[in-house]
């Protein structure tokens, strides 16, 4: 791959030198091309790659778990590839609202550091746009050192309440996740976690996580969630409004934590028999929220 890219690049520079007509700068769009046509093309390619993967995955029904994992690694469309294409598009048309759409779109597929240039362009060229509300919503699941500064910028500067509210909520979630990573870095699985974090986000980020005060971060997340309830509660989120969503998180943060008694559960099993979690007091319980789907 590295080699073919080098060859392609070499040919491109040759074409520049030899071309009798005016050579097109790499940034310049081809005739008839627009942010819109390019974005449509990127999305279509992604669709195609996803369907191709689905076909292969279905065909590999009898493969071993390891083989299927390999298939996933090899053939599942890579978010960073599409992030790079969207970044090129948005760099070419910085003022076009379609660029904002494309950047927001790719945030659902790009992970980790591949998000960084996407966030940078959104903050630089599109901070005033309404689309940032959708971006901030999907960012609650993200993890990149750039997320917190980005969300803080939106919270401070966006003119749209929905974007601010969702930025505030996602900031709480990202902060909470950072607290739990900081805690885990001082716990049992730290030796396995450390190299993974370093590979994904760099030594600097790892060092800052190791020095972070997990309790202070948790407190910060709690305050942000309270801010969501107080200021942005009625605004919509995925399944419930932001207020209800944040209240669920506050309950989890305060009660569903190590060292606290598990709230009792009462319900019917698949045979319709009524029972309670507390029926099993006296035993160690592994409680698993699951589904066959």
């Amino acid at each position: 791959m590295q080699t073919s890219r080098a060859i392609a690049f070499g040919m491109l520079s040759l074409a520049f030198l030899a071309g009798p007509a005016r050579a097109r700068a790499p940034q310049e769009p081809a005739p008839g091309e627009s942010a819109e046509t390019q974005f449509a093309e990127i999305k279509a390619d992604y669709q195609k790659a996803t369907s191709a993967f689905d076909e292969l995955y279905k065909a590999a029904k009898n493969a071993t778990a390891a083989e299927r994992e390999q298939l996933f690694t090899d053939k599942y469309p890579k978010g960073e590839v599409y992030a790079a294409r969207v970044v090129a598009l948005a760099t070419q048309w910085p003022k076009d609202p379609v660029s904002a759409d494309a950047l927001v779109w790719v945030l659902s597929y790009a992970q980790g550091r591949a998000m960084d240039p996407v966030l940078e362009l959104l903050a630089k060229d599109h901070l005033q746009r309404e689309q940032l509300a959708a971006a901030c919503q999907s960012l609650q699941y993200g993890s990149s050192p750039q997320l917190e500064p980005f969300l803080r910028t939106v919270l401070a500067q966006s003119p749209h309440e929905l974007a601010k509210g969702r930025a505030c909520y996602s900031l709480a979630k990202v902060t909470q996740r950072r607290a739990s990573l900081a805690r885990r870095l001082h716990g049992d699985g730290a030796d396995k976690l450390r190299p993974r974090l370093e590979a994904d986000y760099g030594a600097e980020w790892l060092a800052s996580l190791e020095q972070a005060d997990a309790e202070a971060l948790s407190k910060q997340a709690e305050q942000l969630l309270e801010e969501v309830v107080a200021k942005y509660g009625a605004l919509p989120s995925y399944r419930k409004n932001l207020g209800e969503t944040a209240k669920g998180d506050l309950f989890e943060l305060r009660n569903l934590v190590v060292g606290k008694p598990a709230p009792d559960i009462e319900g019917d099993d698949v045979d319709g028999q009524h029972f309670k979690l507390s029926d099993y007091r006296g035993k160690v319980v592994f409680l698993d929220f699951w589904g066959f789907w």
Binding site: D249, V258, S278, V284, F286, D288, F289, W290
Partner: protein, 109 residues
């Protein structure tokens, strides 16, 4: 996850341990049938046929699987451990219980 759980349940069959599921599948009959097919002998709450069921909502679940290890006194001891990691944590808790039990018997003598 499921193969490991199956072996965990078998391995700890004579221990004060239980695996409890909270199932968020749509159809109760279909789920019961699959449980039998997959030889999953442990009990699950059927959470109203959706991921928005009352139990998942009360526990603020946003991703599946989510797991908790709860000790014999009903205190949460671990969150979101899977497979080998979960097994190690559970085994450690059981060992601590056995140790405490021994001490108690000693005191009685």
């Amino acid at each position: 996850m499921i193969p490991h759980e199956r072996s965990l349940v078998a391995k700890l069959a004579d221990q004060p341990f239980t695996l409890l599921g909270v199932n968020s599948d749509k159809d109760r009959d279909e789920t019961r049938q699959k449980l039998a097919e997959e030889k999953m002998t442990w009990r699950s709450f059927f959470d109203g046929g959706s991921t928005n069921g009352p139990i998942a909502t009360a526990w603020n679940i946003s991703g599946w699987p989510t797991t908790y290890v709860i000790d014999a006194e009903g205190i949460i001891r671990h969150k979101n451990l899977r497979d080998q990691e979960a097994e190690e944590a559970i085994t450690a808790l059981l060992a601590k219980m056995a140790e405490a039990g021994k001490d108690e018997n000693k005191d009685k003598k």
